[in-house]
Amino acid sequence: MSTASTPLVVADSLRRTFQPARGADPVVAVDDVSFTISAGESLGLVGESGSGKSTIARILAGLERADAGSLTVDGRDRLVRGRGRRARLHRARQVQMVFQDPYGSLDRRLTVEQTLVHAMRLHGLAARADAGARVAELLDRVRLASAQGALKPHQLSGGQRQRVAIARAIAVSPSVLVLDEAVSALDVSVQAQILELLGEIRRDSGIALLFVSHDLAVVDEVTDRTLVLFHGRVVEHGATREVLRAPRHAYTQLLVSSVAGPGWDPHEVIERRAAFERQSDAPLR
């Protein structure tokens, strides 16, 4: 268990480089990124395409390795990989991930109930006797009707499918939930319901959230602190409210002013962007 002095997630100087093609210059996707997340806390990662936000999410989820740096969750090293099945399963169980497209991440042959039971069995969590009760509890938790447990992904709406993906993730009682653009494809009314659900899960279970999104307004709703990434580097880090309402770094200012709202003028955004590129000597990708 993490104590008050040690946060649940501690990432220190993470670095990841990709080689796009043989002979091409390597791309530094994640460059010296450090952060912490406490139990029950929600950290936002924002930035544009190529900022490294998804790579960081995938490193935390164990889907991508880091070339340098350290990463612990609940005191356990996640970068040095135990080879045994138990170690792999523990790593997977500790950090669960929810993707943008639930249709792609759910097995279309399985019903909702089978999906949840499958996830729990994999981690030895559901004895046959109480699996049914646990499934009912999970469905209730993500506000799906018990009858929907018998449906397959194609019989559900996008919002319902994303609820199933969330139910599957929390079915194994993870310490951390990583959400990569998890509400980006949903209609606003559905998005609002899913965001509310995530808030409840966080309050009730103390799960820590890493919330990756290009949508600043959504990040504002669900996160306590935010990291702003640019070309793989953290350019600003602070309480979400302050980062988004009183951004200090020129790149954050550019991002915030790019969001359409009253008085928004695309030509002004372009001027800001050009000014930023001149000043930082780094073209946006």
Partner: protein, 262 residues
């Protein structure tokens, strides 16, 4: 030409007993930017596809659609091809889906000019390069020779816009055309579209799920729900002036980092 560039009147669309659109009426005038907003399944894309008759043969259409004064629903195949290739252009969300991955950018760009309008290749290329420059693409000669995978999504969407403009249409239909782009790139593409609109008097029907963007970018906005238009508002009035219950609930659900309607 007199009258609106796009004039859709009482347009209904059914597949058998399933009603997709119910007496949709909307218009876009010269130089005007008109938003069409609503949630998934509300009929935004169906309206655009119906207006171009890009629907399966089982679709049953009623009502009327006029583009630059020309009747679309009554047009024969030849007339329809002519309307589609010279009066109007459709820009969709995914530029990678719109461009052939194994053809050079330049070939996709000038295809309509050469094949449909019979413009000689050197002249078509000259116009194509001009347009690439107009949509803010650096080193147009190089891009002309490159393949889609060598360009970023933002650049590709600008190529698609340039391709849409090669035949000098009067009307652009943009279906979530900037939704997949980064915010700064989106602003850049929208600024380019606005400039081109002003220079050429283009009418733009702008379909988006982003209500803040619709409010900030469009002169007028139509709100759709279950295949019907439930409200029409001035863009600047969208957040303050909406009276329809559905429009209000939609607006209330939108998160914002600005405090104007909190």
């Amino acid at each position: 030409m007199t009258g609106p560039l796009l004039d859709i009147a009482d347009l209904s669309l059914r597949y058998g007993d399933t009603r997709i659109l119910d007496r949709v009426s909307l218009r876009v005038d010269t130089g005007e930017t008109v938003g069409l907003v609503g949630e998934s399944g509300s009929g935004k894309s169906s309206t655009v596809r119906a207006a171009l008759r890009l629907l399966p043969p089982t679709a049953q259409l009623d009502g009327s659609v006029r583009i630059a004064g020309r009747d679309v629903l009554g047009a024969d195949a030849r007339e329809l091809r002519d309307i589609r290739s010279s009066e109007v252009a459709l820009i969709q969300q995914d530029p990678r889906g719109a461009l052939n991955p194994v053809r050079r950018i330049g070939d996709s760009l000038i295809e309509r000019l050469v094949l449909v309008h019979g413009v000689a290749r050197p002249e078509a290329k000259r116009r194509g390069l001009e347009l690439l420059e107009a949509v803010g693409i650096s080193r147009p000669e190089l891009r002309f020779r490159q393949y889609p995978h060598e360009l970023s999504g933002g650049m590709l969407q600008r190529v698609v816009i340039a391709a849409a403009l090669t035949t000098r249409p009067a009307l652009l239909l943009a279906d979530e055309a900037t939704s997949a782009l980064d915010v700064t790139t989106q602003a850049e593409v929208l600024a380019i579209l606005r400039d081109l609109q002003r220079e050429r008097g283009l009418g733009l029907l702008f379909i988006t799920h982003d209500l803040h963007l619709a409010a900030a970018y469009c002169d007028r906005v139509y709100v759709m729900l279950s295949g019907e238009i439930v409200e029409e508002l001035q863009g600047a009035d969208l957040f303050a002036g909406a009276r329809d219950t559905y429009t209000r609930s939609l607006l209330d659900a939108v998160p914002t980092i600005r405090e104007h309607h909190a």
